[in-house]
Symmetry: C2
Subunit: 242 residues, 2 copies
DNA sequence: TCAAAAGTGTTTAGTCTACACCCATGA
DNA sequence: TCATGGGTGTAGACTAAACACTTTTGA
């Protein structure tokens, strides 16, 4: 899990990596009826960013994305999907990294590879919030969950990247049934509905939702869960692995 | 429309371009009830390839794709969409370019930038077949339409790229109503249905298709077309630009 | 026994399918 | 007038929405 390559800030030519090319990961989690995104922050400059990384010369693109997501979450099996490439000239903004260098008392070298233009390949990941251990990296000294509904200002076009990721998630939700990756292994129907409602940002009709999900034939109904609430205990479901 | 940069084969370091990064365009056309793809061929080695190109250091990614598509078709307004990034190590195959160099009596220099690993961003384009003038480039000396149903063997993973493009086209066809970009400005309902049937590779029910399309409210019905056939002349439609 | 949430039945409305029928046209 | 393909009407099947009802639980 440790980089075999020199740390980014002491590798001024980016040796071993493909230049101008980055991977950014929008890692979604679901907790307390809120969609969350994993963000990095560098305390000295206060700037927020998506977890990201670079592609090693001898590494598959998907593996680079998986590596980035794994290092930030501590998970190994992660649902991960490419969703868009951000390649406008206008997104080039070396200021955050310059500021980082300056905050560390280093002379920002104008030829440093991280100050050049980057084209970034966006991946989104869906993870079980309860299993993630947010882990900072060498540049950003904090890594934590943030509510999607109240995101801070991020560097470069990272807010737009998150927006596009959410759009893709919404479009694929019904189509590919990927939502389950955001829940723990066992869940109730209302938890599932709440997840859908949060992602789609609209209320769904309970009986219709229940029937639709059951009719898909992808849920195993398990023993009842005794919720402690003053009402009928809901069934617990599990995603049927086909 | 001419490259301001040195031709690829005489620019051994790829100066002015972003290294390791390419754009490949799957340009779809529709003619004679067949889906067609624009392919390049280099006669001396007989190898086929997708139209492709590289990204200039100061060029937006989308503009690079647009440039590639425009240079091969002669069109300026092209429906173009990013669909996937192909970044596996396994796709690296310098043989075709080596063979090209050899066929031109040049020593294939092992450090030539085109012999290195490339990550390719796939774009698909939908064009009006009747308006395209297929135009070769400096490496491939032919550029022509090929039936999607009977494609030749292409270099590297280009067959897989086309397959993924077709998959994306199918998925977006109903969703985004992009099919119209493949037809001339004026068309009959049966031409439209034939297009859909060809893309989806299945028969559609005529009355259902007609009603569905009309119910979308995106077609303007124009004067009748007098087909010359021994039957009722069909209406001519135009895509309503909202 | 009551309130609250879970699960299911039922009525209704809307949509899609299948088939039929009529229309316009040139041979 | 006949065959052919284009356009639309309509009955039945299927699906989805809306509402109601029953069940289960802890207070």
């Amino acid at each position: 899990m440790t980089d075999k390559l020199a740390p980014k800030e002491t590798n001024p030519k980016g040796e071993g990596f493909i230049p101008h090319l980055a991977v950014d990961a929008v890692i979604f989690g679901f907790h307390d009826n809120q969609l969350k995104v994993l963000l990095m922050q560098y305390s000295k400059t206060g700037r927020y960013a998506l977890p990201g990384g670079f592609i090693q010369q001898t590494e598959n693109l998907d593996d680079a994305a998986k590596r980035v997501a794994s290092e930030r979450t501590g998970l190994t099996d992660i649902f991960l999907e490419q969703f868009y490439v951000f390649g406008d000239i206008a997104r080039h903004d070396p200021a955050p990294f310059s500021a980082f260098m300056a905050a560390n008392g280093k002379e920002p070298d104008a030829s440093h590879w991280l100050l050049q233009r980057f084209i970034s390949i966006g991946y989104f990941a869906l993870v079980d919030f309860t299993k993630v251990s947010p882990t900072p990296d060498k540049i950003f000294d904090s890594c934590d969950w943030y509510d999607l509904a109240s995101l801070p200002q991020l560097i470069q076009d990272h807010n737009a990247i998150i927006h596009k990721a959410l759009e893709t998630l919404r479009a694929k939700l019904d189509d590919k049934l990927i939502g389950f990756n955001l829940l723990p292994q066992h869940f109730t129907m209302s938890e599932l509905q709440s997840l859908y409602e949060t992602i789609l940002d609209k209320k769904l009709i309970r009986p219709a939702f229940q029937r639709k999900m059951l009719s898909l034939g992808i849920l195993d109904r398990l023993a009842k869960k005794f919720s402690g609430g003053a009402h009928k205990a809901p069934y617990v479901y599990r995603f049927a692995s086909k």
